[in-house]
Symmetry: C2
Subunit: 286 residues, 2 copies
């Protein structure tokens, strides 16, 4: 997706133009943690919703659009329904100003005027020249190749638009959550500028990664999201007691297997977030 490279360039330019705006003082370790904890609920809700639908494989198979298409004469486009749907949806959301907030980063790039959105003066909490950092390519790949087969049962009910719309919701919240590592890094940097500055100047990735890692805290997060999947994914009756389902290890009674949500955080969300944190810090003096 070459479009992403263009997007990165556009954002870089925009970030340089914004360099005169001082970072907001509203960011703290508490507000960052609160945001990340709340995002967990949204992520679990989105996964549960996607798991309502079968895999619906035809939505992900590459389709030929013939000569021309959006790629100019002589080109053949080779994209899936899912990719085309997400591109068009992001274009509408871009026009509506979704990406004016640096918290939101599209998977595909669009440069359209914000004709629809009422104006709003967003605070700029990130260091502008590092704000472009994101791992959307990795998130896209992990979501479709690793996570989706664990979420959705085999089958085809034809509801491709609804299904892919729920994929987009998952992708958007995962992107916002993981790329929020930029905010995490900014807060940590401000909390101990001396240590971070020397490691950044030495370009010492390994030491930065070590400094950013708290296995105890990560363990709390992983157990919490697993528990959220058991609570939010249970079947509720109007009378009976609320089932915690904690003793059920097979995951068959839940709308999404809690161990899949644990794995999502353990193998992808937390490592990718730390990758974003390190990359952001390495651009913190650009």
């Amino acid at each position: 997706m070459a479009a992403r490279a263009i997007y990165t360039a556009v954002v870089c330019t925009a970030a340089l133009l914004l360099a005169v705006v001082p970072p907001s003082a509203g960011l703290s370790l508490d507000t960052v943690r609160e945001f990340l904890t709340r995002e967990e609920d949204t992520i679990v809700f989105c996964l549960i919703e996607r798991a309502r639908y079968p895999l619906n494989r035809p939505a992900y198979d590459p389709i030929h659009l013939g000569d021309g298409g959006g790629a100019g004469p002589g080109h053949r486009l080779n994209a899936s329904f899912a990719e085309l749907f997400i591109r068009e949806s992001e274009a509408v959301q871009s026009k509506a100003g979704r990406y004016q907030s640096l918290q939101e980063i599209p998977f595909f790039a669009y440069r359209v005027p914000f004709t629809l959105a009422p104006p709003y003066n967003f605070t700029r909490e990130l260091y502008p020249a590092a704000a472009f950092v994101n791992v959307n390519d990795a998130i896209w790949s992990v979501y479709f190749n690793e996570l989706l087969p664990l979420l959705a049962k085999n089958g085809d009910d034809g509801n491709y638009a609804v299904t892919v719309d729920s994929d987009l919701a998952c992708l958007q919240v995962l992107s916002r959550r993981i790329n929020y590592g930029r905010y995490v890094a900014e807060v940590k940097f401000r909390g101990d500028q001396q240590t971070y500055t020397s490691l950044i100047q030495a370009k010492d990735r390994d030491a930065l990664m070590k400094l950013l890692t708290s296995e105890a805290q990560e363990d709390v997060v992983k157990r919490r999201v697993e528990k959220k999947a058991t609570v939010f994914g249970q079947s509720i009756t109007s009378d009976g007691p609320i089932e915690t389902g904690v003793n059920n290890s097979s995951g068959t009674n839940f709308k999404v297997d809690p161990s899949v949500v644990y794995k999502l955080y353990d193998q992808w969300v937390i490592p990718l977030t730390k990758q974003v944190e390190v990359e952001y810090l390495l651009h913190r003096f650009d």
Copy 2:
């Protein structure tokens, strides 16, 4: 919204063309109840997500788009950002084939080719000439005028696109849930054709409404959705016990006040669903 009348006409025509297709035998009272119960979870999730954002009033104020716009020369368009965003999003979803499934009904009408969607042969479980019945106009009005002020706190964070995208998710699931009354009515009709036929032929709305009403069953549903709001809207920690919050009557500890969800079902979802059921039945012999 005159576009809806056009849509209704289009669907009516399509329904007549489909009249040769026999209704599917897959529909039963059990599958209908299972669908409606599962939709409750989605509705509660969507309300919780909308409640994350402040009211963001500028997204709902009418904006002037100047002469021309989509209404042709000489016209001034007077629509809100929310309405424009939802129109554009529905246009993409329509192009992607969302409304090929009769379970999904758009708030605005579009006649665009389904260029993106892989083909799928949907079963037709509704009586074709009655399938057009819907109360989307009422749902739109209830959502923005009654429900939204109960959900969202006052405030403006500028995230209009994300906010209205979550409005759209709420509207879509409420529309699907309430207009599913057509399926409920079809199942009930098939279960007691003789009684229903005589009431339909007599155009006896009151008797139909009475026949479709089970206060005991409705009470179960209302208490269940209230409980879902307490369970899904609580704060989960990785260790402590799962809080049911059932003793908390103020609703302040929940992401959405459970009494608002009770009220939503009591005053709007259940009555509107029954209105759909009656209207569907009155067209059952068209």
